[in-house]
């Protein structure tokens, strides 16, 4: 274990724990960011796609418009290009090949069939309209629950079924349920969502004849992974591809995916020797590309009379869509479901079966929180149902079963290693902050046609998990050591080069804070270089709440190595031993003798005659790799508590108060942690109440614009109250934990529980996200019909 646990948490200055204003914000808030759509190049052509209007069909013919053979390209033109494969090594996984342009069959609405090039996007769309495609429509698989029916049409004919992967786990289940006093079964469903970052995908592909290098400027959060995937599909060497991710307007997982559009643009840029640009529009984004979240759970909880959770039994179906997307594959979600459903609780037995089914929808992609949002909704809703059945409070059943602080570190029933924390304390603080006692008193006095309710959700989130975890899932991408380069410049500045990407995470600030902590160089002299495979060490990129732990650890390691180099040169200049040199405030010192770090840089680069021949020839640039002390991940955790008012006539749910108690371990920059948690919570509120992409029986997506796909809006958000706990992780360099996804996990569960609390007097429960007015009214009507029948 490293010796920096909890270092510098005083929050002073610029170092670890300082609430520094984000340095990148000046650029971004003044409209000076440079996004893909800001890039224009001489001779550039715009690309638009003819996309499938049908969810499932055989293609019988594709006819290019007259005279447009050199501007319209179909699958037959993509000579030497391979489709996208993302296979899992898990036993039984069935492989799919996602075509770059569909040739024989389309499997979801929006699948690209022809790429059309013109000097403007409008003209390219004109061309796309003129491409004539003959289809033989096939019945669509539009419902995850019907995908395994005997009569269901097959997406991938040679599979013989529509299942990417089936899994089963049984840990002492039969023994555990023997003493059950309460058994409740519920069915929960989450909606198919779209990530909807403010910027969609976009790219400019350019072929450099001289260097024979294809440069792909792409709105991606994982440039190195895109490069690896692209090289495979195009049959190029890695050295022939450079991926540049400029400013990126939010990612949330969608921008970690290798897109067919990227492969297609890369091929055409090389073939035509002209820059090709594609800017995804919101309709393409919503209907054809950015899909996530759709799960179905049948879950049974078994509890003893005293509230002890004995076991959980679950069957879960993940709607994986038509293809296995690169690099996370079609099975990441179901693998997560099986392994994290038990949440932060202790239990004696556990059984879970999962199916990742193929449907005629775009591939499911990992969205902030990945499977955790659905899992937390299912598990935490079920916990409340158990509590109601047992006649104990939601807080009591959680308190009874949460892993205790004294048990940390704790290995749970699915072998997750909870590194540190006090889950019960988070629960207690949330219960107190939302003031459940006052809400109960208020509920007793209710009359009229609305009801208030309070709901809780507790969860923990694995972040920065590494090699063994991902190798176990067998997907194409396995993170190893995270590397960073630290380079002192001749004027005493510091360049940090990292392979992760910052697109809202504030890494240009927080990584500089870590470097400042190690080297004492002022933050305004530290430059964080990211988003370019030519400049940065290989990295799997920004995903999985990993950057502050992994890139933060790598930056610290590289800075420590650089510090030794600085000390070596300073030792020469101070005529003392390197070991005796200390670094502080931009000065290298031996006792009262000092030389500035700037002078050290100037000497190495510009005045080498001052240094002896036996000086360390590696100079003032160091690349170091970092892993956590074990790669099972840091576990941040949180308790969300929400107070709602439900209008019994409209079915409208209003959020009256919202509390988040969370623990990110040592906070490198508390303001950034606040921002991450708040932003995530708002996205989770969208999942809970608003966002859903419905499909009809023909597989047609029904929300093709933001007028129909409802995002949460700022003016309707409650004032979310954040309460921090700060328990260092024993696994990470400074005790920090990944927190990027946490906020988006808790809201659906907490809000559903609050709505169900409000409706408890009517015997009504909602179990389907988003919680629309129609679903609330239907739950009330169903309860009322049940009442009438009994």
């Amino acid at each position: 274990m490293d010796g920096d646990q909890g270092a510098g948490t005083g929050g002073q200055g610029f170092g670890i724990g300082a609430r520094m204003t984000r340095r990148e914000d000046h650029r971004l808030l003044h409209g000076k960011g440079r996004f893909v759509a800001d890039i224009r190049m001489h001779g550039m052509l715009e690309m638009a796609f003819l996309r499938s209007p049908l969810a499932h069909a055989r293609i019988t013919s594709v006819t290019k418009p007259d005279g447009a053979a050199d501007r319209v390209f179909t699958a037959a033109d993509l000579v030497g290009v391979s489709g996208i494969r993302a296979d899992s090594g898990l036993p039984g996984f069935k492989s799919s090949v996602q075509p770059i342009l569909a040739e024989t069959k389309v499997r979801h609405v929006g699948e690209p069939i022809a790429a059309c090039l013109a000097v403007s996007r409008a003209r390219a769309e004109d061309l796309a309209e003129l491409v004539d495609v003959g289809f033989e429509e096939i019945a669509a698989v539009h419902d995850l629950k019907r995908a395994r029916d005997q009569s269901a049409p097959l997406l991938h004919d040679h599979w013989g079924e529509n299942v990417f992967l089936e899994s089963a786990v049984d840990i002492d289940f039969a023994d555990a349920i023997k003493d059950a006093a309460s058994v409740v079964t519920r069915r929960y469903q989450t909606a198919r969502q779209c990530m909807a970052p403010i910027e969609g995908r976009g790219l400019v592909a350019v072929w450099d004849r001289t260097l024979e290098v294809l440069t792909l400027h792409s709105a991606t959060q994982m440039p190195h992974i895109v490069r690896t995937g692209l090289a495979g599909c195009l049959g190029l060497e890695h050295g022939q591809i450079r991926v540049v991710a400029p400013d990126v307007g939010g990612g949330f997982g969608y921008k970690g995916i290798l897109l067919a559009e990227e492969v297609c643009a890369g091929f055409l840029a090389m073939k035509l020797d002209r820059p090709i640009r594609w800017i995804e529009d919101r309709r393409e984004h919503l209907t054809g590309n950015a899909n996530c979240r759709e799960h179905y759970y049948e879950v049974t909880g078994y509890a003893a009379a005293d509230g002890e959770l004995l076991a959980v039994d679950c069957s879960a179906i993940v709607d994986s869509g038509a293809y296995s997307a690169y690099p996370f594959s079609a099975c990441l979600e179901s693998a997560q479901v099986a392994s994290i459903l038990p949440g932060p609780y202790k239990m004696r037995g556990y059984r879970c079966k999962t199916w990742s089914v193929a449907t005629n929808k775009p591939p499911i992609l990992p969205f902030r929180g990945v499977a955790r949002t659905g899992v937390c909704f299912a598990m935490e809703s079920m916990m409340d149902a158990l509590a109601r059945d047992l006649g104990i409070t939601p807080a009591a059943i959680r308190h009874r079963n949460l892993v205790e602080a004294a048990e940390m570190p704790f290995t749970n029933i699915t072998n997750k290693y909870f590194d540190s924390g006090d889950y019960r304390e988070a629960l207690s603080r949330a219960v107190e902050a939302i003031d459940i006692d006052a809400i109960r008193a208020e509920q007793k006095a209710q009359t009229g046609r609305s009801r208030i309710g309070v709901g809780l959700s507790v969860f923990c989130e694995q972040g920065a998990h590494g090699t063994s975890v991902y190798h176990g899932w067998g997907i194409p991408m396995v993170p190893g050591f995270e590397q960073a380069t630290a380079r002192l410049t001749p004027d005493g500045g510091l360049e940090l080069r990292v392979g992760v990407h910052s697109h809202g995470q504030g890494l240009e600030t927080s990584l500089a804070q870590i470097a400042h902590d190690r080297l004492g160089i002022a933050p305004d002299k530290i430059k964080v270089v990211h988003g370019d495979t030519a400049y940065t060490p290989y990295s799997t990129g920004t995903w999985g709440s990993r950057c502050i732990v992994m890139a933060g650890g790598a930056v610290a390691a590289a800075c420590d190595a650089l510090a030794e180099r600085i000390k070596g040169i300073a030792g020469h200049l101070l005529q003392g031993e390197a070991d005796a040199v200390t670094l502080s405030g931009g000065q290298a010192m031996i006792g009262s003798a000092a030389v500035s770090v700037e002078e050290v840089g100037r000497t190495w680069y510009l005045k080498p005659q001052l240094l002896p021949d036996d000086v360390d020839p590696r100079g003032l640039e160091a690349t170091e790799g970092y892993k956590t002390t074990q790669d099972t991940g840091t576990f941040s955790y949180a308790c969300h508590a929400v107070k709602v008012r439900v209008d019994l006539d409209l079915g409208h749910v209003e959020l009256l108060d919202y509390v988040v108690v969370e623990d990110a371990g040592t906070m490198i920059n508390p303001a950034i942690v606040d921002g991450q948690v708040l932003g995530g919570t708002v996205q989770g509120i969208g999942t809970a109440l608003h966002e859903g992409m419905p499909f009809d029986a023909a597989g047609q997506p029904l929300a093709s614009t933001l007028a129909d796909y409802h995002m949460p809006v700022a003016s309707d958000m409650p004032a979310i109250r954040l309460i921090h706990m700060e328990t260092p992780s024993p696994l990470s360099r400074f005790g920090q934990k990944g927190i990027g996804e946490s906020g988006a996990i808790g809201p659906p569960a907490a809000i559903a529980n609050a709505v169900n609390d409000a409706l408890a007097g009517f015997g009504a429960e909602v179990a389907h996200l988003p919680i629309t007015p129609e679903r609330v009214l239907a739950a009330l009507a169903e309860a009322s019909a049940r009442e009438g029948a009994s």
């Binding site: 309709r283 006539d649 409802h710 003016s715």
Partner: protein
């Protein structure tokens, strides 16, 4: 999505605009509804006849009995009180809840009525007020109630080459009352249900109207009965809308109940105002 290519014409005057509206041409004012439809290629006019240059469509005139608002008056101008509101605040309040301020800055009264979105605010409010649409076309001027102008979802009685130039609103009589309530899930959304009530005994007008129905606003029979309580909102809505889903019915009942309650509260506050 980018629009299909179109010509963009700025006519010299109203007659020129009317003459320009041949087959395939579409008038455009604030472009807040047509713009997205162009981008999605749902609307494919060969020419946009831009009314932005026609100052005549921004005219505001007042008489003892009426206020006439030019069709190009924006929602924001009504919201901000930059034009007279004969209802003493109802129009301003309705305008201030249309979509977002960015839309209100450019969106126009006339454009909203001609677009005839069933969930749009002016469509139901002007119908309920009994406002008059003033149209100019090749055949000269026509007048008709806004309730007759809107003939269905996104459909109007505008003829070939006809332009809505102004909306005329009568000054309510003494003691007139009104209410308007719409259910939007989030700020800026289109209404899921809406209802408006207008009672002007001096001018012998009484209307209860429900909107956001996927058709033009529906005037309920027996508005007096609704107001005096002899028929309940749920009875009236169920009778008028036999085919709506239970949830939609429930939401419209709430909208109607709350619009009626507003009108009644309005009456009381007016009475209170008179007393002081």
């Amino acid at each position: 999505m980018k629009p299909v290519a179109f010509q963009h014409r700025f006519p010299a005057d109203l007659q020129d605009a009317i003459a320009s509206l041949g087959a395939g041409a579409s008038p455009v004012a604030g472009n807040q509804s047509l713009g997205p439809m162009l981008n999605l290629r749902l609307a494919r006019p060969s020419m946009l006849v831009d009314l932005a240059s026609l100052e005549a469509l921004r005219a505001v005139t007042e008489t003892a009995s009426h206020v006439r608002l030019g069709a190009r008056i924006t929602h924001a101008e009504i919201e901000d009180g930059e034009v007279p509101d004969p209802t003493g605040g109802w129009l301003r309040a309705a305008a201030g809840n249309i979509a977002y301020r960015a839309v209100r800055n450019r969106g126009t009264l006339g454009g909203s009525l001609c677009h005839a979105d069933p969930a749009a605010d002016w469509v139901i409010v002007m119908t309920t007020l009994g406002a008059t649409a003033i149209l100019h076309g090749p055949g000269g001027e026509r007048r008709m109630p806004v309730g007759d102008l809107i003939t269905g979802p996104y459909r109007t009685a505008l003829g070939e080459g006809e332009i809505l130039t102004a909306v005329e609103i009568a000054r309510p009589g003494p003691g007139a009352r009104w209410g308007y309530w719409k259910y939007v899930r989030q700020t800026g959304d289109f209404a899921k249900a809406s209802a408006a009530v207008y009672v002007d005994t001096g001018r012998d007008e009484c209307r209860c109207v429900i909107g956001a129905l996927g058709r033009q606003p529906l005037r309920l029979a027996d508005p007096e009965g609704l107001l005096d309580g002899s028929i309940s909102p749920s009875e009236a809505v169920a009778r008028a809308l036999p085919d709506q889903s239970a949830a939609s019915l429930a939401q419209h009942v709430v909208a109607l109940s709350r619009a009626i309650a507003q009108a009644q509260a309005h009456s009381q506050s007016q009475a209170g105002g008179d007393a002081s």
